[in-house]
């Protein structure tokens, strides 16, 4: 079957099979390997992308379910500048400022969930941010710097 959707702002098409997962399509058809597979069972959140603006686990979504919709991956988060350069999104900068990544395996998923939280939380409430990160596991940082980075991003949006 063929699927067509918006991927990081571009219209794309790919040949796939109904049982192929969105994460597999992103990584193998489009080479977007920033979206990681940690568990493949919906537990770890490393595969988190946005589907129509909301964070979902792309290992728990069929590529077919994205047909006609809009997908954002970590590769589409930084703003494209002139001369092909990119400038980090404020949340990515906040991750750097707060040392919110160590090995980096969880980071793409954390940023994608963090963007959803930054867009939908009204205040940088720690409990709410931690509840919002229930679906993202990190083995390195202890979470505190990640929570602080997301809180900073929410504060900056005012």
């Amino acid at each position: 079957m063929r699927v067509a959707f918006t991927l990081n702002g571009r219209n794309v098409e790919a040949e796939t099979e109904p049982r192929i997962l969105l994460v597999t399509l992103l990584r193998e058809a489009f080479g977007l390997t920033g979206t990681h597979v940690g568990c493949d069972t919906g537990q770890c959140g490393a595969c988190t992308v946005h589907l129509d603006g909301r964070a979902v686990k792309s290992c728990m979504v069929l590529a077919a379910q994205a047909d006609g919709r809009s997908v954002l991956t970590i590769e589409g988060v930084a703003a494209k500048g002139e001369n092909g350069g990119e400038s980090l999104h404020p949340l990515q900068t906040a991750f750097r400022d707060h040392h919110a990544l160590q090995c980096g395996f969880c980071t793409p998923g954390m940023v994608m969930s963090g963007l959803d939280l930054a867009a939908h939380l009204d205040s940088p409430d720690e409990t709410a941010i931690r509840h919002g990160l229930d679906g993202n596991l990190c083995r390195c940082t202890g979470y505190r710097p990640i929570v602080e980075a997301i809180a900073q991003c929410i504060r900056e949006k005012g």
Binding site: R19, T41, A64
Partner: protein
């Protein structure tokens, strides 16, 4: 071509445009509806099922939207847990939906899928049973009291599609659960409501199937307060025992959760 190929058994994918088309596409046996996929895809990955086709109902217009009617709230079966958590019409229901799984699961998983799946620890079971909701399908209306038959077993006929759920607005209601820290599923969850038709208390996560606590309901009917529950308990006999909790622990949790749910006590 793709490396994930060996994972799930192959199936066809259909995306009908209306309820009538979806129901016509279902053969009653080998095909399955697909909503958010948050339970079904997990089962398919484990090769626990081998449907010949998935019929995607997530975008059907008839299954979408939340409508406030006088005395009732009608929620489309395709409504995500996240959308229900953001809906302020019935606060206890929003709190329940917001407690499910995690952010990503709530963004994909739907009310209809959760009810049809009938996980013994499903949160929505407590909401529909605790409020005495009506489950509207493509062919009839099923009262919550008649819907859950057993573990992963409902009154739905093969190929029957949930279209919406009509909740009566409670005067007061609350929901409290003890979350499994890994999954978010309730080890036990209690929904307490005072509606125009009386008091209802529903428990999920504690047995093969959600159930009502009539003794608690009678006690609360005269006095909708924590004090009315004084001395009431639940026998461990029929409750689940698994790696998460013993039956005795669940029996001890239920009155505590009922008191917490009452304590939220606020407007619906």
């Amino acid at each position: 071509m793709y490396s994930g190929e060996g994972l799930m058994f192959p199936f066809d994918y259909l995306r009908p445009q209306s309820v009538a088309e979806a129901v016509a596409a279902h053969d009653g046996e080998e095909r399955r509806y697909l909503a958010g996929g948050q339970s079904l895809l997990a089962a398919l990955k484990l090769r626990l099922a081998q449907p010949t086709a998935l019929i995607d109902v997530a975008r059907l217009p008839e299954l979408s939207g939340i409508e406030a009617e006088p005395g009732r709230l009608v929620v489309g079966a395709g409504t995500t847990h996240a959308a229900l958590a953001e809906c302020r019409e019935i606060a206890a229901l929003a709190r329940l939906a917001g407690s499910i799984g995690d952010l990503q699961v709530r963004n994909m998983g739907t009310l209809g899928g959760a009810l049809a799946n009938a996980d013994p620890a499903g949160d929505h079971a407590a909401g529909v049973l605790g409020l005495g909701a009506d489950i509207h399908t493509d062919r009839r209306i099923i009262a919550a009291d008649d819907f859950f038959l057993g573990m992963f077993e409902t009154a739905l006929e093969p190929g029957e599609l949930i279209v919406s759920v009509s909740y009566p607005r409670p005067r007061r209601a609350g929901y409290a659960k003890v979350r499994n820290p890994a999954s978010g599923y309730p080890v036990a969850g209690v929904f307490v409501a005072e509606t125009d038709d009386g008091v209802r208390v529903a428990v999920t996560g504690a047995a093969a199937c959600p159930f009502r606590l009539t003794q608690f309901e009678m006690a609360l009917a005269g006095d909708f307060s924590v004090a009315a529950l004084e001395g009431l308990g639940v026998p461990a006999g029929e409750l689940s025992r698994d790696l998460h909790a013993s039956a005795e622990y669940r029996a001890a949790l239920i009155p505590v959760l009922a008191r917490r749910a009452l304590g939220q006590g606020g407007e619906g």
